[in-house]
C-alpha cells in the first residue's frame, strides 16, 4: 500500500506547490499591482501616521505640525493650530478625505521619505536626509486673523499683499472650517456636511471664485486711459443722467440715479471719486478694448498665475467687447462679462501702489529642511507693467480722494494716508457683492488689499462697497498701522 501513500504525498505536496506559486504571484510578480491599488489603504495609512514638515508664518507662528502619538512615538497626528482663519491656505491632509491647500500642493516636500526599508538605510548611509521639509509662508498671522474676524462669518474674501514684492500677507475666505475635524474617523461625514452647507465653507473665495469686479475695475480703465493719453484726470466728459448704450435701447445709470456732478460736464477725476458709471462707460469706449485688455493683462487678468494651487482665471472678455461698444461700455464699469478673483483685484491695487509694476503673488517664502537650513527661497518676480509710474502716481492721488471725500470714506484711518476704490457688483441671484480695493500708506505703500463681501453681507440690498467692504479694509489698515508703529 506504499504506492497510494506515495501518490497521496505527491498530491499534497503538489497542492503546497500551488500555494507557493500563488504566493509568488501575489508577493513577488504581481506585488506592485496589489500594493498600489487605490483601494489598498495601507500606503495612505502609513503616510498619514508619518511625521510631516511644519508650516509656519513669517514670524514663526505654527500653522501645521505633526505631534507624536502618546503611546507610539513613531506615529504622528497632524495639528492645525491656526484653525479656521488659515484653513483655506494651509488645507489639510486626511486619510479618509484626501488633501487640500498647501498640504496638498507641497506634499512632496512636507512628507517624510522614511519608509524604514533597506533602501532608506542605504540612503542614510549615503548621507541623504530623509526627514520632511518645512514651509515658511509670507502670511502675517495677525493680519490674517484680523481679516477673518472682520468678515465675521459673512461670505467673502480678503487678500492683502505687500505691493513691493507680491508677498501675500493675508488670504482669507469666509466662512471657513476647522481642518482638524476632517482628520478623524468621521471625516467622510464631516466633509459631506461641509459640502452640503449652502455657504460653501470648503470653497476658497479668495482665489477660486470669480466675481464681477464692478467699479473697482474703473482703476484698470482709468490707468488705460491715462497711459494711452486718451484722457487725463482733468478731461471733461458730458454728464448725462443716463448713458445710452450704442446700438441699443438700454442705458447705463449712476448708482444715485442722477447726474454725476452739478454741471453739464464732469471731469474724469470727479467721476472716479464719485464712481460714476455714465462717465466710465463713455471713457471705456474712447480708450478701446485693446488698451484696456493690455492693462488688465499686465495687472493679472487673462493669465495663469503660478500659485500653489489652481486659481480661477480672471478675465476681461476682449473677444466679446472688441466689436461691441455696448459690451465694452458695460465692461468698463466692471460688469457684463468681466470677472475677477479677490486675489487679482488685490494685484490691481498693488500695481498702483508699486508705481505701476505688478509683482507675482507668492505665498511660500522659503522651503527649509529639518535642520532649519534653507532649501529654496522664493525671489519676488515681476508679472508685468500695468501702467507707467506717472499714471500710477496720478491714480494713487485719485484713489486717496476716494477715501478722503468719495465713496470710500469708511476706509479712512486717522493719521494714515489711505487710497482705495469701492465697487458694488450687481448679482443676478440676490443682493449685490460689495468690493473695496486699496492700499496704504499712500506715500510709501506697504499693504495692498482687496475685500469682497458676497451678496450684501448682513445688510442685503442696501449694501455697497463703501458701506460693507470699506470698513473691513479700514480694520486691516489700522492693524497694519499699529504694527508699523
Amino acid at each position: 500500500m506504499n504506492g497510494p501513500i506515495r501518490r497521496l504525498a505527491l498530491g499534497v505536496l503538489v497542492g503546497l506547490g500551488l500555494v507557493l506559486g500563488s504566493a509568488t504571484w501575489f508577493q513577488v510578480l504581481g506585488s506592485d499591482r496589489y500594493r498600489s491599488d487605490p483601494r489598498n489603504a495601507r500606503p495612505a495609512i502609513s503616510r498619514s501616521v508619518k511625521e510631516r514638515g511644519v508650516i509656519v508664518t513669517a514670524d514663526g507662528t505654527v500653522l501645521a505640525e505633526s505631534v507624536p502619538d502618546e503611546t507610539n512615538p513613531r506615529s504622528f497626528a497632524r495639528r492645525y493650530p491656526g484653525g479656521e482663519a488659515f484653513a483655506p491656505v494651509v488645507g489639510y491632509t486626511s486619510l479618509l478625505v484626501g488633501d487640500a491647500g498647501l498640504e496638498a500642493a507641497y506634499d512632496d516636500e512636507l512628507r517624510s521619505r522614511r519608509d524604514l526599508t533597506i533602501s532608506d538605510l542605504i540612503a542614510v548611509l549615503l548621507g541623504r536626509d530623509l526627514r520632511p521639509l518645512s514651509l515658511q509662508l509670507t502670511l502675517d498671522p495677525d493680519l490674517q486673523q484680523t481679516a477673518y474676524e472682520a468678515l465675521a462669518g459673512r461670505r467673502g474674501a480678503v487678500v492683502a499683499l505687500d505691493p513691493n514684492t507680491g508677498a501675500i500677507l493675508a488670504l482669507v475666505s469666509s466662512p471657513s472650517f476647522d481642518p482638524e475635524t476632517l482628520l478623524g474617523a468621521d471625516a467622510v461625514d464631516r466633509r459631506r456636511t461641509l459640502l452640503d452647507d449652502p455657504a460653501q465653507p470648503l470653497l476658497d473665495r479668495a482665489t477660486r471664485r470669480l466675481y464681477p469686479p464692478a467699479s473697482t475695475f474703473k482703476v484698470v480703465v482709468a490707468a488705460a486711459a491715462f497711459d494711452s493719453g486718451v484722457a487725463g484726470p482733468e478731461t471733461e466728459y458730458p454728464d448725462p443722467e443716463a448713458f445710452a448704450l450704442p446700438g441699443s435701447a438700454a442705458t447705463i445709470r449712476n448708482f444715485t440715479g442722477r447726474t454725476c456732478a452739478e454741471g453739464t460736464t464732469v471731469t474724469v477725476q470727479t467721476a472716479f471719486v464719485r464712481s460714476c458709471n455714465t462717465t466710465f462707460a463713455a471713457l471705456a469706449i474712447d480708450v478701446g478694448a485693446t488698451q484696456i485688455a493690455r492693462t488688465a493683462e499686465a495687472a493679472g487678468f487673462d493669465r495663469d498665475l503660478r500659485f500653489p494651487w489652481q486659481v480661477a482665471r480672471s478675465t476681461f472678455p476682449f473677444d466679446v467687447v472688441r466689436d461691441d461698444p455696448a459690451a465694452l461700455a458695460q465692461s468698463g464699469i466692471g460688469e457684463r462679462d468681466v470677472r475677477a478673483t479677490p486675489l487679482t483685484m488685490a494685484m490691481v491695487a498693488a500695481a498702483v501702489a508699486n508705481g505701476g509694476e505688478t509683482m507675482a503673488p507668492f505665498l511660500v517664502r522659503q522651503v527649509f529642511d529639518a535642520d532649519g537650513l534653507e532649501v529654496e527661497t522664493t525671489q519676488p518676480t515681476t508679472l508685468g507693467r500695468a501702467m507707467s509710474p506717472a499714471t500710477a502716481a496720478v491714480l494713487s492721488g485719485l484713489m486717496e480722494l476716494v477715501v478722503t471725500e468719495g465713496t470710500g470714506r469708511r476706509a479712512a484711518v486717522p493719521g494714515l494716508r489711505v487710497a482705495g476704490k469701492t465697487g458694488t457688483a450687481e448679482s443676478p441671484d440676490g443682493p449685490p457683492h460689495a468690493w473695496f480695493i486699496g492700499f496704504a500708506p499712500v506715500e510709501r505703500p506697504s499693504v495692498a488689499v482687496a475685500v469682497l463681501v458676497e451678496s450684501g453681507g448682513d445688510v442685503g440690498e442696501s449694501a455697497t462697497g463703501g458701506t460693507v467692504a470699506a470698513p473691513i479694509a479700514r480694520v486691516l489698515f489700522e492693524r497694519s498701522l499699529s504694527a508699523r508703529s
Binding site: M1, N2, V19, L20, R35, R39
Partner: protein, 430 residues
C-alpha cells in the same frame, strides 16, 4: 544526536518568537518588556515538555516533526501578538495546554503503543460523533455545556466553568478520532486481496464492505453541513476518500470522490447563500470590495504590500484584514514578514507533510500506515484548503491553519496529531 538537533531547533524557534515580539514592541513604541521573556519562556516550556516526553516515551521517533511545528507557531505568534496582545496572552496558555495534551498522548500510549487506539476504534467513532454533534446543543440549554453559533457557522462549544467560559471547537479533535477510527476500520475490513466485484472495466471492493463507510461519511457530512461548516465537511470527505484509496489502491475511489465532491460543491452552491457569496468573492473579490469580497481583497493587499521582505513586524497593517489572526494569519505573516516569511511557512508545512508520509511509508503494519497517512493527509489537506482560500486558488472555506491560527482547539488537536505521528515513527521496526 538528532534529538540534540531537535532541542537546538526548538530553542531557535523560541528565540524567533521572542525576537519577533521584541521587534513588534520596538515598532509600536512600547519597548522591550516582560512580553519578550514570557514568550521565550512559554515556547521553551511548551516545546521543551513535548521534546522531553518524546525522549522519554518515544525515543526512537523522528526528530523532524516538532521543529517545523515550533517555527510555524513562533511566526504566527508574532503576528497574533502584533494584532492583539491580549489574544497572544491567551494563545500562550493554549500552547502550554496543547503541549500538555501532547505529553499526555505520548504518556498514555507509552506502554501499549498506537494499538490502544485500534482496540477502542468504535469508542473513537462514538467520540467523533459526540464531538461533532456537541455544537448542536441548544445555546440556552441548562447545564455547563452549550452550543454556540459564530460567523454563520455553528461549530463552537461553550463550557461554562462557573468562573470562566471556555470556547472550544470540538471538530479540531474529532478530526483525529475520526482518522484513528477509519484507519482501524479500513485495516480490518478492506484488504488488497479482498473479494472484488467487476464494474465495467474496473474491479472494485465488495460494496457491502464499503457501505458502512459511505454511511459514516454521509452522517459526518450531515452533521457538519447542518452546522454550515463546509470547510470541515470538505476535509472529512477528502480524508475518507484518501484513506479508502490508501487502503485499496483503487483509483476508482479518487474518481468517485471527485465526482461526489463536484456534485457536493454544486449542490452546496445551489443550497447555501453563504456558499454563493464565497464563490463570488473568490472569482472577483473586487466586484463587491466593500462587501463580500472585502476580506479576500484585504488579504491580497496585505500579501502584495508585504512583497519580498515584508513591512517588518509591527510596521504593516494586517489588522485591516478581517479575522487576521484566525483564517487569514497567513496573509498577516505575508504582509509583515514578506515572501521570505511565507516561503518559510510553506516549507515548514512541506517538511511536516513529507516527514509524516515518510512515517506512513516505513510504518510496521497496515493499521499504522493508514493511521500515519490519514493524519498526515488531514494535516496537509487542511493546510492546503485554507491557504488555497487565502491565495485565491479555491473559494475560501473557514478552517484553521494548523499551528498558526489563533485558537486553542486547533493547537490542542495539531499537537496531539504530531504526537501520534511521532509515536508511530517510534514503533517502526528498528
Amino acid at each position: 544526536m538528532t534529538r540534540l538537533l531537535e532541542a537546538t531547533l526548538l530553542v531557535g524557534a523560541a528565540a524567533i518568537a521572542a525576537f519577533g515580539v521584541t521587534l513588534v514592541n520596538l515598532a509600536t513604541g512600547t519597548g522591550v518588556d516582560a512580553q519578550v521573556g514570557l514568550t521565550f519562556f512559554v515556547f521553551l516550556l511548551a516545546f521543551g515538555a513535548v521534546h522531553v516526553a518524546l525522549r522519554t516515551f518515544a525515543p526512537r521517533s523522528v526528530p523532524y516533526l516538532l521543529p517545523p511545528a515550533a517555527l510555524l507557531a513562533a511566526l504566527s505568534f508574532v503576528e497574533i501578538y502584533r494584532i492583539s496582545p491580549f489574544r497572544a496572552g491567551l494563545q500562550r496558555w493554549w500552547l502550554l495546554i496543547a503541549a500538555a495534551g501532547a505529553v499526555l498522548v505520548l504518556a498514555v500510549l507509552h506502554r501499549t503503543g498506537t494499538v490502544l487506539l485500534r482496540r477502542y476504534r468504535f469508542t473513537l467513532f462514538g467520540v467523533t460523533l459526540l464531538l461533532l454533534a456537541a455544537p448542536l446543543i441548544p445555546s440556552d440549554a441548562p447545564g455547563p455545556i452549550r452550543g454556540l453559533e459564530a460567523n454563520g457557522s455553528r461549530l463552537w462549544v461553550v463550557a461554562d466553568m462557573g468562573f470562566i467560559e471556555l470556547h472550544f471547537q470540538p471538530g479540531e479533535v474529532a478530526k483525529l478520532a475520526f482518522v484513528a477510527f477509519l484507519a482501524a476500520y479500513l485495516a480490518d475490513r478492506i484488504s488488497l486481496t479482498g473479494t472484488r466485484r467487476r464494474l465495467g472495466r474496473w474491479s472494485i471492493p465488495e460494496p457491502r464492505q464499503i457501505f458502512p463507510l459511505v454511511a459514516v461519511w454521509a452522517l459526518s457530512s450531515l452533521v457538519l453541513v447542518s452546522q454550515r461548516d463546509l470547510g470541515a465537511a470538505t476535509l472529512l470527505f477528502a480524508v475518507v476518500v484518501a484513506m479508502l484509496y490508501a487502503a485499496t489502491a483503487e483509483r476508482v475511489f479518487l474518481w468517485a470522490g471527485g465526482v461526489l465532491a463536484g456534485g457536493g460543491a454544486v449542490s452546496a452552491y445551489v443550497l447555501f447563500a453563504h456558499v454563493q457569496r464565497r464563490v463570488e468573492a473568490w472569482l472577483d473579490p473586487f466586484a463587491d470590495f466593500e462587501g463580500t469580497g472585502y476580506q479576500i481583497a484585504q488579504g491580497v493587499f496585505a500579501l502584495g504590500s508585504g512583497s519580498l521582505a515584508g513591512a517588518g513586524p509591527g510596521l504593516g497593517r494586517p489588522d485591516l484584514i478581517p479575522n487576521a489572526i484566525t483564517d487569514f494569519i497567513f496573509a498577516a505573516v505575508g504582509e509583515e514578514l514578506g515572501f521570505a516569511g511565507t516561503v518559510a511557512v510553506i516549507a515548514s508545512y512541506a517538511v511536516v507533510v513529507a516527514v509524516g508520509f515518510g512515517i506512513a511509508l516505513r510504518a510496521r503494519d497496515r493499521y499504522r500506515k493508514l493511521l500515519a497517512a490519514g493524519l498526515t493527509f488531514a494535516f496537509g489537506f487542511q493546510t492546503f484548503l485554507i491557504l488555497a482560500g487565502v491565495l485565491r486558488i479555491l473559494p475560501l472555506t473557514g478552517i484553521s491553519l494548523p499551528f498558526m491560527s489563533y485558537g486553542g482547539s486547533s493547537l490542542v488537536g495539531n499537537f496531539a496529531l504530531v504526537a501520534l505521528l511521532a509515536r508511530i515513527s517510534h514503533e517502526e521496526t528498528a
